[in-house]
Symmetry: C2
Subunit: 327 residues, 2 copies
């Protein structure tokens, strides 16, 4: 097998790549040089996975990499351009972010139930003000997104006594852990019952803008909304309106329509809205884990074995069956 | 049986007490009138459980209530005065606070691992600054206090993949949930391994001031300390020193040597110290739950049945066996 040409789109050093010495010719590019190099690469590693450059630079009819790996859970920055029916396989970072994001979401839920932000604001003012908080156990959550991250979030909430309803694209009447997986048709009913509505869906044409005024109107005034999916799932103006009119009680966003969120955005100081800079899955060591995952898949590529975490480009995510045939 | 005289020390209305109409003569007192009324009461309900007045007003040789109930987990505000060997039974609110405090502690632990305070401070400044956070799963906690609250904290942490070492006054080599319960002699070793050190011990002569400079020196520089026990467990100046010198990474206090914490206390703005106003167990509906618990015990008292949650006044808490003979 001739030496593989691995193209890496990066804006910072990539750990552990020395493992490929003598096995691949590694070419690092930035966004500007990407279009020139794409036709010569066998494999593309989108290390700078927040970039839209791959979609923009993707060759129409010409030669292109046969395998593209993105070290993220979502592949929305690659589709639909890369799904042109010409056989390029896309793999993602399925699995790496499950536990960190579940912890982050659980932390946010508890922080909202216990009003930590209010308490620390009072601390800043040196004020002792006892308040009653909310018990998480016995509340109810709707988790929109039934992939591995959504399931891990659901699992963590259940461990703390929360009743969890999972919503996915493919409803299932039986599920060993969650009893069942609801289809999106059940959202209307579920949203009226949920204390916590958590979006962790993949971004697809169908899920874009799914959290809008109509959706928030279905929720309880005591409910909280959390988004760790993609900013485009939410119509941000509608969320702000729902918060200002007390249609819902609070929200937490880790992702936004525009990232980084501009300093002059109106979102920063909406009452009841917690903002974090797209970091829910990024725990110390995550880059090493992402690199290891790619390198393991590279071993498979070299050996002609089936790659792990192959994205179904029609669906826009890796379906439940984790393996697909080699390219 | 003649009508019971129930004395209630309160500073606010007590829910559901109408259930005793026709069954008890209920006398409400404030701290000032307490000493006058104590000799005439059969039962004392210390609804204002943060008060030290009962200890101060306790009759020496004279008549006194045969049963004192405090709707708190700790009984340190009643001892040693009420344990004078003359047969007054003390009961507490064992059970009511387990779940709320476990949720509160877990929330604080996650908030520290994910640096929520830092994120919300950046939000106030409209600054987008991505950082890496810490994974909770795989870390290690030492929970000091092996009563029902400590166990529930341990259970919640274990559900999220934390290795939990429980420390109690009575070590046990086998424990169905935690493997074993360590004695305080093991603290030295355990503190050197723990990422999270959580104090939820009852306040006794032995546990007073147990978290001092010597203790903090045993902890790792990456470790966090949390106190939901009593303020007197901690030598506050030593904690401040440990934080300022970066001997430990952070701390959260819900209880203090002086409560309410005075506005001019130096604690409010110590870097890395989270302060909350003694509210970890107080979820909406807690007063109703506390009242129900007392009234259930009152039914037992009337029927001559054994009371629940009888405090061992030698130990200073309710030992594992939950029932004791009626007075």
């Amino acid at each position: 097998m001739s030496e593989t040409c691995l193209l890496v789109l990066d804006d910072e050093p990539l750990p552990r790549l020395d493992r490929l010495a003598g096995r691949a010719r590694v070419v690092h590019v930035d966004e500007k040089r990407l279009a020139d190099q794409l036709p010569h690469a066998d494999v593309l590693l989108v290390w700078d996975f927040l970039s839209d450059a791959v979609r923009d630079a993707w060759p129409g009819e010409g030669p292109r990499p046969r395998w593209v790996h993105t070290p993220s859970a979502g592949v929305d920055r690659l589709l639909p351009e890369l799904a042109d029916g010409r056989g390029t396989v896309i793999t993602n970072a399925r699995g790496i972010f499950d536990r960190p994001i579940a912890e982050y979401v659980l932390g946010l839920v508890l922080a909202m139930a216990k009003d930590f932000r209010g308490t620390w604001e009072l601390q800043r003012q040196r004020r002792w003000r006892h308040r009653e908080t909310f018990r998480l156990s016995g509340t109810r959550a709707t988790v929109v997104g039934s992939g591995p991250i959504g399931r891990e979030i659901g699992r963590s909430l259940m461990a703390l006594g929360v009743k969890v309803d999972l919503v996915g694209r493919t409803p299932r009447n039986s599920d060993a852990e969650f009893g069942r997986v609801h289809g999106t048709g059940a959202m209307r009913t579920l949203l009226g019952q949920a204390d916590w509505v958590i979006c962790v869906a993949p971004l697809t044409e169908e899920s874009k803008g799914m959290f809008d005024a109509g959706t928030f109107a279905l929720m309880k005034p005591e409910a909280h909304f959390l988004n760790v999916g993609r900013g485009q799932h939410v119509v941000e103006d509608d969320l702000v309106d729902a918060l200002l009119r007390h249609r819902i009680k609070g929200a937490a966003l880790d992702v936004f329509g525009e990232e980084p969120l501009p300093a002059d955005s109106g979102l920063w100081d909406v009452p009841g809205l917690l903002i974090s800079p797209h970091m829910s899955g990024d725990t110390v060591g995550w880059r090493d884990d992402l690199s290891e995952q790619f390198l393991d898949n590279f071993d498979r590529w070299e050996a002609g074995e089936p790659l792990l975490n192959v994205v179904d480009t029609e669906l826009g995510y890796v379906p439940t069956k984790p393996e697909s045939p080699a390219p």
